[in-house]
């Protein structure tokens, strides 16, 4: 009897089952709560509408009736000059499409940041202690949180992409392979970012502190990237940060595969960096969970 109880909690099947059970527990709160589900799908729509359509940088150059008195420059020349400026800066004349890819990474980042919060809640409400008194591998608890937010993030990213296309994102270069690889990049970004925020939450007991940490990191991660604006016009110190920011790598991959904006390195390079980011952060968070999940 005793040996049977002990044997049950070993082996890969047990690990996978407990992992899925914990992931599904968090996912259930999302897909079984219609309001929450709708809200989380509406959110990207609002972001895209606000940022994508309101901050229409392209229109400044191409859709203006600016003219300089004394010089009678024909509109066609002004427009082609504008297009040239756009191509030079953004690699495309279509700022909305440029931004839409940035939004895919944006939504992933903002979903990932919540992954840490739920660990803080679980600790606060004693649920974590309850789990820790069962034989479930400590790593499963952490990976379940990461998987939960990754799955949510990817579903939201699909919605963002569909909305972007409906709102006029360029589809000239879309391929199935391109979309799948872009989502693989988003998966790696989400996995790594969720690991980071879970890791930061391992010791945290109150959600205010966790919220501060999240806010401290999130906007800098977003603005020190190429999500809204190309990095080449940034001051060199900011460029240095942006050049190692995983958000930039994901967006580079997305813009290359979905919009055919050329990469400065190779696709393999960009994936290798993202893969390393996701791997290192998830491994570190699992290792830390062995030590720090307990009080």
């Amino acid at each position: 009897m005793e040996s049977k109880d002990i044997k049950r909690v070993h082996g890969i099947r047990y690990i996978l089952r407990s992992l899925w059970s914990l992931t599904n527990r968090d996912l259930k709160k999302w897909y079984l709560a219609p309001l929450l589900l709708i809200m989380s799908l509406v959110q990207p729509l609002i972001w895209l509408g606000l940022f994508g359509k309101a901050m229409n940088l392209g229109a400044i150059f191409t859709n203006s009736s600016v003219n300089i008195s004394g010089l009678n420059i024909p509109k066609s020349i002004l427009d082609s000059l504008g297009n040239a400026f756009m191509m030079g800066a953004f690699g495309t004349t279509d700022y909305f499409s440029f931004l839409a890819v940035g939004m895919l990474a944006f939504i992933v980042l903002f979903t990932a940041m919540m992954s840490g919060m739920s660990i803080v809640w679980d600790r606060r409400f004693g649920f974590l202690d309850k789990l820790l008194s069962t034989p479930v591998p400590r790593g499963s608890i952490v990976v379940a949180k990461i998987l939960n937010s990754t799955i949510r993030a990817l579903v939201q990213a699909v919605v963002v992409l569909i909305i972007a296309i409906l709102l006029g994102m360029s589809t000239a270069h879309l391929t199935v392979r391109g979309i799948l690889l872009t989502f693989f990049a988003l998966f790696l970004l989400s996995f790594g970012m969720s690991s980071l925020f879970v890791m930061l939450a391992l010791r945290s007991k109150d959600w205010q502190t966790q919220m501060m940490i999240v806010n401290l990191l999130n906007l800098p991660l977003l603005f020190a990237s190429n999500a809204f604006f190309p990095t080449k016009f940034m001051p060199s110190w900011l460029q240095a940060i942006a050049s190692v920011n995983p958000v930039s790598f994901t967006i580079n991959i997305g813009r290359y595969l979905l919009l055919d904006i050329p990469l400065s390195t190779t696709l393999i390079n960009e994936f290798a960096f993202l893969g390393a980011f996701a791997l290192i952060f998830s491994v570190v968070s699992i290792v830390l969970s062995w030590r720090f999940l307990r009080e």
Partner: protein, 333 residues
Amino acid sequence: MQNSVINVDGLTKKFGNFTAVDHIRFDVYEGEIFGFLGPNGAGKSTTIKMLTTLLSPSEGKAKILGHDISKEQNTVRSLIGVVPQEYTADEDLTGYDNMLLMADMYGLPRSVSKKRIADLLSMVELVQAAKRKVNTYSGGMRRRLELAMGLVNHPKLLFLDEPTLGLDVQTRSVMWKYIRSMKKQYRMTLFLTTHYLEEADSLCDRIAIIDHGKIIKIGTPDELKESLGGDFIQLSLKNGDSKVISYIKSIQGIIGVRKVGNVYKIKARKAEESAPKLISLLVRHKYEVERLSLEKPSLDEVYLDYTGRSLRDEEVSSDEAARERRTVRLSRM
């Protein structure tokens, strides 16, 4: 020779300079209900956290069903059941889903867990509510669910941390009934902590009184009461001063006096004989007696006698207090 289910030898936990549990030693034998009685901050929860592998001890050893809590953590975890002080069930899930989640954590095959969950839910009379979200449950229902969740792996040893915290008296005695019948059904050994004396008195076979991290006394409730060797007289005066105690001590049949707050707790061989003498002596010395009562020993006095303070004097950290408030609040819903 009885089988020792829990064997604790010099177990100690230090947090920085503060020693929460100080070299405690005790055994819990198969089939008994063993209770840790003490105020908040006495070291009860820390002890239970060490025994359930949530905290690692600073010093000392403990064995659960023969397995070392520091070296064979996963084995210990798979054999014990834990019912924590807080309501730990996930409120956004149904009672049934919570049970299933726990069963998965113990690696039970679905065929086994479905049967067990059905049995346990019917035993705690939650079959009707099983498909409802936990946030619609009353305090008593939540406690019963926690109990059922702690039993899903059919543990030989069940830990209950303050199993009736915040419940009203009626619901509390209903919980006791469930705990007793569960124990019988699964032939378990129970280890519980409580700061309710009635609970320790009516549930436990043996009690350890713990205070400031040390075990002060272990025995059956009756043994503890008898060990006091006398009755109690409680006295309060309008104009007490420092000399009163020595006056009281001079009376024949009085064993001891202690001042707790404004009340003098007097231990006497026979309270009904000492009390008249006491009153006449006090009147002679111009003291005004405000109130006087006689008591046969209860566990309350036992506790006071051994720890020198009442169970109501609580020392809690803010974090612990917040958790406790939450538990109490939810139990009143």
